[in-house]
């Protein structure tokens, strides 16, 4: 087996005495698209925040190796400098910050136009706009993806990247994910949308803070749909045999 880009072992996170991530193990290989499925409250977004080092999301046990470096002691921007980034499910809005600036963060010489085109937005119309409340939810989501794309990360965690995107534009999202892979990057893809899951190389199902099933995207989608959850017997995630 090749050395994983991301190697999560025994990761545990608790909040208000509740175990949200429970000794979670997960490995993602270089240039792998890995979809993560799970019911609301199963711990998907929490895993994303713990990996990114967000405030209030410090793990209580476990190890995470990212490209050979211990990730958990590092601050968010230090993790980003290693090549890890996160696209939030509800992206933040920035008053006064232009799309051009947002796509060139920390690298003013970077050309933001290709990334914007890749998400289906016309640079002439969008580069001078502000990343603020005037953008629709769908536009903001696409700009978030463009900013991830422009960064060319080693691993992008995309939390529901297709949320609020119209059906016709989902192809742009899929193209972005494939482009990230074509750069040699990996993607941890948190999503509920089957057409997005199916572009993954592998997938895992999360329940009660643990990976309960991993396999091909088809197999995980089938498991997600048609089987009683082996971990909680359907009591937590609601996945019960019909």
């Amino acid at each position: 087996m090749p050395i994983p880009l991301l190697d999560i072992r025994n990761l545990t996170f608790t909040a208000d005495r509740q175990v949200i991530l429970d000794r979670l193990d997960l490995a993602i290989q270089p240039a792998e698209i890995h979809a993560l499925l799970g019911a609301n409250g199963s711990g998907k977004t929490t895993l994303a925040y713990v990996l990114m080092g967000c405030e209030g999301y410090q793990s209580s046990a476990g190890d995470v190796l990212f490209d050979g470096t211990k990730l958990l002691p590092l601050k968010t921007h230090e993790r980003a400098k290693l090549g890890l980034t996160l696209a939030w499910q509800e992206p933040a809005r920035f008053e006064g910050v232009s799309v051009r600036e947002y796509l060139s963060l920390g690298k003013p010489d970077r050309d933001p136009e290709p990334a914007l085109r890749q998400v289906g937005l016309d640079p002439d119309r969008y580069l001078s706009r502000r990343v603020d409340k005037a953008l629709s939810g769908g536009e903001r989501h696409r700009i978030e993806l463009a900013s991830v794309l422009a960064m060319k990360p080693k691993l992008a965690i995309l939390d529901e990247p297709a949320a609020g995107i119209d059906m016709l534009s989902i192809n742009h999202i899929i193209a972005v994910i494939r482009t990230l892979k074509s750069y040699g990057g990996s993607v941890l893809l948190i999503t509920h949308q089957e057409e997005v899951v199916l572009i993954a190389d592998r997938a895992s199902q999360l329940c009660g803070g643990r990976i309960i099933y991993s396999g091909t995207p088809h197999a995980v989608v089938d498991h997600f749909r048609g089987r009683t959850c082996v971990r909680c017997d359907g009591e937590v995630c609601g996945y019960v045999r019909a």
Partner: protein, 311 residues
Amino acid sequence: MSELEELIRVLPMVGAEPAILDDTRIGHVVAHGHHVLSHRTVPGLRVELEETPDALVGKMFIEAGAQIAQPIHMCFGLAHPTGVQRIKIDLHVSEGAQAQVLSHCLFPFATAAEHRMQAMMNIGPGASLTYTEGHYHGPHGGMQVLPHATIKIGKGARYFSDFSLLSGSVGNLDIDYLVEVEEEGLAELSAKIFAHKNDQIMLKEAVILRGARSRSLIKTRVVLEDDARADITGITEAHAKGARGHVDCMEIVQGRAQASAIPIVRVFHPEAKVTHEAAIGSVDKKELETLMARGLAPEQAVELIVSGILR
């Protein structure tokens, strides 16, 4: 260096080029204390200035229908550490006229100085005035600035103001503006201030929507650090059918700074509507973490968020 040269030298601190005063197409007034150092009129603009021991008294008239293409520059200031400047000015924009005024208030060396402005502006029916006010009070925090104004906006007239104080220290700032808007008139007031050290800000802007379908926006952005204090009051009253107003105040507080925001909205007609939003606090955590997740260090992220808010 002469007083005129001293004031011209710091024009870039408020985003203006010194060369504008040499341009014969651009009207201007430059005053040091109560003395006029330079002025020029352009077609459509009439200026009367009177130097008195107590104040500089000015009247500016923009003739009916005049479309003054280039902004008119008003540059007031003191080139000494101490002193008092009082300005009383009437600005009359006649029916159908259009003009932009760039007001520069420059006090680069102030350690214990005072600037008082008493302005009365009348924007005639269908006229439009854009009033951009840039202040620079130097690094010492020794300035007391009290701009007070009453602005009357006629039927179908438009008034846009943009106050900014983004470089150097504020000192003690006490702004009090009252704006009255007639039928189908529009008033948009924007203020952006970056305060540090022991700066004190009192900002009160009141808009009275008197006419039917009159509209207004009060937008305030203040960033405070160190021991700075700010009390922001945005008042909008709507008295007529179809009047619409909005008050939007955001203050970012860092260090030991303190801020208050008081939006006051009053509606006196069942078909009028006024809304408000106010936010005070530290830099938004999600914004900060998003930028850090793209590789910016925390201090770089804060700087970008703050500079964005003050644009």
